[in-house]
């Protein structure tokens, strides 16, 4: 029953999107500045620190990470800023978390679930090693990443689910900026989603990864949720990364979000 009511509210809100009627509910620049200041005291930093400790103790730290990928420690930050990548050793386009799992397998250790606090912390730590680097994903690098990009774009553009919505329905250039449920819809490139997630989510009081955020959005839009670590989710991350790259965005982990 609740679902039906929600969708009615959604539809009527969408219908009212013409005006900036939501202005009275939208935060002012001064408000946004206060929230931006909170970035300096982000609880997620504690999780990132913890992720570094777990990585060090259980897998040998970033030195082992670099060695596994056959990248010098000096080149590691820029390399991390290019994820998701096709890793020949693993025969797939993967995210940082999947590389960590592969390392665990190689070292004969128990695999940490992708959807676990421990993995989110480690993922955030490794990604934070690339802080300040420009997002440099190269979707022409090989046929695998090319295919992943194509799949990501299709996934982003395909209308599906109860309301026939695609990611693009709310995040395309002509819709962006309009207010939905009191929030202005963001341009995923301009918002540097690929650079600022994993992030601390204030409404969830925890560290969340980009794929998990996509799942939350899908649920609300009545799209069947895509599993974390699946081909399609990684492809979505690849596509989103190119959006941020096009706007010259940098890595800044951990982020801080509503």
């Amino acid at each position: 029953m609740k679902r039906v009511l929600l969708s009615l509210a959604f539809l009527s809100t969408m219908a009212m999107l013409q005006l900036n009627a939501g202005e009275q509910f939208a935060m002012s620049d001064a408000d946004r500045a206060m929230y931006a200041e909170m970035l300096e005291n982000n609880p997620a930093e504690i999780y990132v620190e913890e992720g570094g400790e777990i990585l060090e103790e259980s897998l040998g730290g970033e030195e082992a990470f670099a060695k596994f990928l056959e990248v010098s420690e000096k080149d590691l930050p820029k390399y991390i800023a290019g994820f998701p990548r096709y890793i020949k050793k693993l025969g797939n386009v993967v995210g940082i978390d999947q590389v960590l799992q592969a390392m665990q397998v190689e070292q004969g250790k128990e695999k940490t679930k992708l959807k676990s606090g421990k993995m989110f912390s480690m993922l955030a730590y490794v990604k934070s090693l690339a802080n300040d680097e420009l997002i440099n994903i190269d979707v022409e690098a090989d046929e695998h990443i090319k295919a992943s990009y194509a799949l990501g774009k299709v996934t982003y553009m395909t209308a599906r689910g109860g309301r026939g919505l695609a990611c693009n329905s709310c995040h395309s250039a002509d819709i962006v900026g309009q207010v939905l449920r009191t929030q202005p819809l963001p341009d995923l490139g301009e918002a540097a989603v690929a650079g600022t997630w994993p992030a601390y989510r204030m409404t969830k009081s925890s560290l969340r990864t980009p794929q998990r955020r996509f799942q939350g959005c899908m649920k609300n839009a009545l799209l069947k949720v895509i599993p974390i670590g699946s081909k399609e989710m990684i492809a979505l991350e690849v596509y989103i990364a190119t959006l941020a790259k096009a706007k010259g965005k940098k890595i800044a982990i951990p982020g801080l979000k509503r």
Binding site: F25, M27, M34, T203, N220, A221
Partner: protein
């Protein structure tokens, strides 16, 4: 006075709570959101009924609109030389409509250098955030600002 008895009973409860040792506090015994205190009662408890003056010496910074009520940033800056003779003794952060009007009571000393405190609070809905200040001379000052709490967004 009804109010005084109410506060007395609250104090009695907290006195009892203070004597319960950790080992005897089982999950089922823990206070179930029992810290209910209205804004007026909280102010009374803090000031003992003394006069409170609105003052622009207090700079209270809160967002006009909080996009989520779980994490609302609050910053208090009180103009003061912070010397032994003249300093901010305490900063009390309160809200006018939360079930428990109190958020934090901060006792400062001249070593702080500035009459400053910042934190993040939960607001159960649109209401005022209040900074109640006690100066070293025993006087009480106040500043209040409204915060509109919106709960929206997707995901």
């Amino acid at each position: 006075m009804k109010r005084r008895n109410f506060i007395k009973s609250i104090c009695a409860v907290s006195a009892v709570a203070a004597t319960i040792t950790p080992s005897t506090l089982l999950a089922k015994d823990m206070p179930k959101g029992g810290n209910v205190l209205t804004y007026d009662a909280a102010v009374e408890a803090i000031t003992g009924g003394k006069a409170v003056t609105d003052s622009d010496k207090i700079k209270l910074t809160v967002p006009e609109i909080a996009e989520n009520g779980a994490v609302v940033p609050v910053k208090v800056n009180v103009e003061s030389p912070m010397t032994d003779a003249d300093y901010v003794k305490s900063i009390h952060v309160l809200s006018t409509k939360n079930g428990n009007a109190r958020c934090a009571d901060v006792m400062l000393t001249p070593l702080n250098g500035k009459g400053y405190f910042a934190t993040r609070v939960k607001l159960g809905g649109t209401q005022d955030v209040v900074a109640l200040i006690e100066m070293s001379d025993g006087s009480f000052l106040r500043a209040a600002k409204p915060v509109k709490v919106t709960i929206g967004g997707c995901g």
